[in-house]
């Protein structure tokens, strides 16, 4: 069972999914690849179940905002870990910011529950099928997604800082 390499993972995924998995990359020795957001659960399930791949541990789940990529502004990134072989991969799906619906991975990985709530909280990714998709770190009254790259560095309309105190009165 020893000796799982990036090559084997890539080969195994291509055998199963063919063209549905693309954009393979190995930055700093860590394999990453992409699939369409409709296929995210199929790919994750395969990575979890396959007797060779065995990615049973979800290390992290987060989003990235690429405001310049029209139609694929939000990336949801799954960091997976094969604990037996001690090998890690990154799996990405992209979604448009206008319709940020991605299937929840919380049925497969229990750890995804809170991670998806955090990702929703900060990026507004709508994880369909999530049992309790509400804000986890920010105040419930917040009506925006603070980590999206759509805010100027200093909001001139703020009223909660007294400008005179900061020399911009």
């Amino acid at each position: 069972m020893m000796g799982l390499t990036n090559e084997i993972i890539k080969q195994r995924l291509t055998e199963k999914f063919g063209e549905a998995i693309f954009h393979f990359d190995e930055s700093y020795g860590m394999l990453s690849f992409e699939a369409a957001k409709e296929n995210n659960l199929k790919v994750l399930q395969f990575l979890f179940d396959d007797e060779v791949l065995n990615f049973r541990f979800l290390t992290d789940l987060c989003a990235v905002n690429y405001p310049d990529l029209a139609g694929r502004e939000l990336a949801v990134v799954y960091h997976l870990h094969n604990l037996q072989e001690n090998i890690r991969i990154r799996f990405k799906v992209f979604t448009s910011i206008a319709e940020p619906d991605v299937f929840t991975a919380s049925k497969l990985y229990a750890a995804a529950n809170w991670m998806e709530r955090e990702t929703f909280d900060f990026y507004g990714v709508n994880f369909t099928g999530h049992p309790n998709l509400k804000r986890i770190l920010n105040v419930d009254e917040m009506d925006y997604f603070p980590m999206r790259k759509e805010y100027p560095l200093e909001d001139q309309t703020r009223v909660d800082k007294d400008d005179e105190m900061f020399g911009r009165g």
């Binding site: 770190l137 920010n138 105040v139 917040m142 603070p146 909660d160 800082k161 007294d162 105190m165």
Partner: protein, 196 residues
């Protein structure tokens, strides 16, 4: 060579007033066997010299407060050694540290649970104005949600600054009219914060 031995040939006699601060008596008219004064002054004198602070310490300013409570700076000298951790019994809410927006309702609840008369001291840049945390998750000064009596600047303020703040609060307490909390202005202030 023999070791020179020096004697303190002009010893200064100990004067108790050098070491112990004695509170001044309030202004009034005294005669043989009686003393008249304003009730406000007497109540203020009693209140200001036995404050019960409630520390609400969330970060580094709280560490400075611990030094303030310690033997070197010794807040007990000012009648405030009895730090309470129950809002009902305390007079002075000391907010020391960054208050995240999510912490806001908790702080407000602690303030509401305190019985009148109550005072609030914002210690440090974060509690006073949000400090360096000019960001979406941090309350930009606790005066957004509760009224503040004394602000202590610093990041974090040294224990001397916190003691100075305590003395400023004592000054306020000592001069406060006992009718203030029933006044229209006070009600308006509270209503400004949506209290009562």
């Amino acid at each position: 060579m023999s070791r020179p031995v020096r004697f303190n040939i002009h010893p200064i006699q100990a004067n108790i007033n050098d070491a112990v601060a004695v509170a001044e008596a309030p202004q009034g008219y005294s005669g043989e066997g009686f003393f008249t004064s304003k009730l406000s002054d007497v109540v203020g004198l009693a209140r200001k010299n036995s404050m019960w602070p409630l520390p609400f310490a969330t970060s580094c300013c709280g560490i400075e407060f611990m030094a303030t409570m310690g033997s070197h700076y010794d807040l007990a000298r000012f009648g405030s050694e009895r730090v309470g951790f129950s809002p009902r019994q305390c007079d002075l809410l000391m907010v020391m540290g960054t208050i995240a927006k999510k912490m806001g309702p908790v702080l407000r609840q602690v303030y509401l649970q305190m019985a009148e008369p109550r005072w609030v001291m914002a210690v440090g840049a974060c509690a006073s104005s949000g400090g360096i945390f000019d960001t979406y998750s941090v309350l930009q000064g606790i005066d957004q949600i509760i009224p503040v009596d004394v602000y202590v600047p610093g990041c974090p303020p040294r224990p001397e600054a916190i003691l100075d703040g305590i003395l400023k609060v004592q000054e306020l307490i000592g001069q406060e009219s006992i009718r203030r909390r029933n006044s229209e202005q006070y009600t308006a202030l509270m209503n400004g914060y949506g209290i009562e």
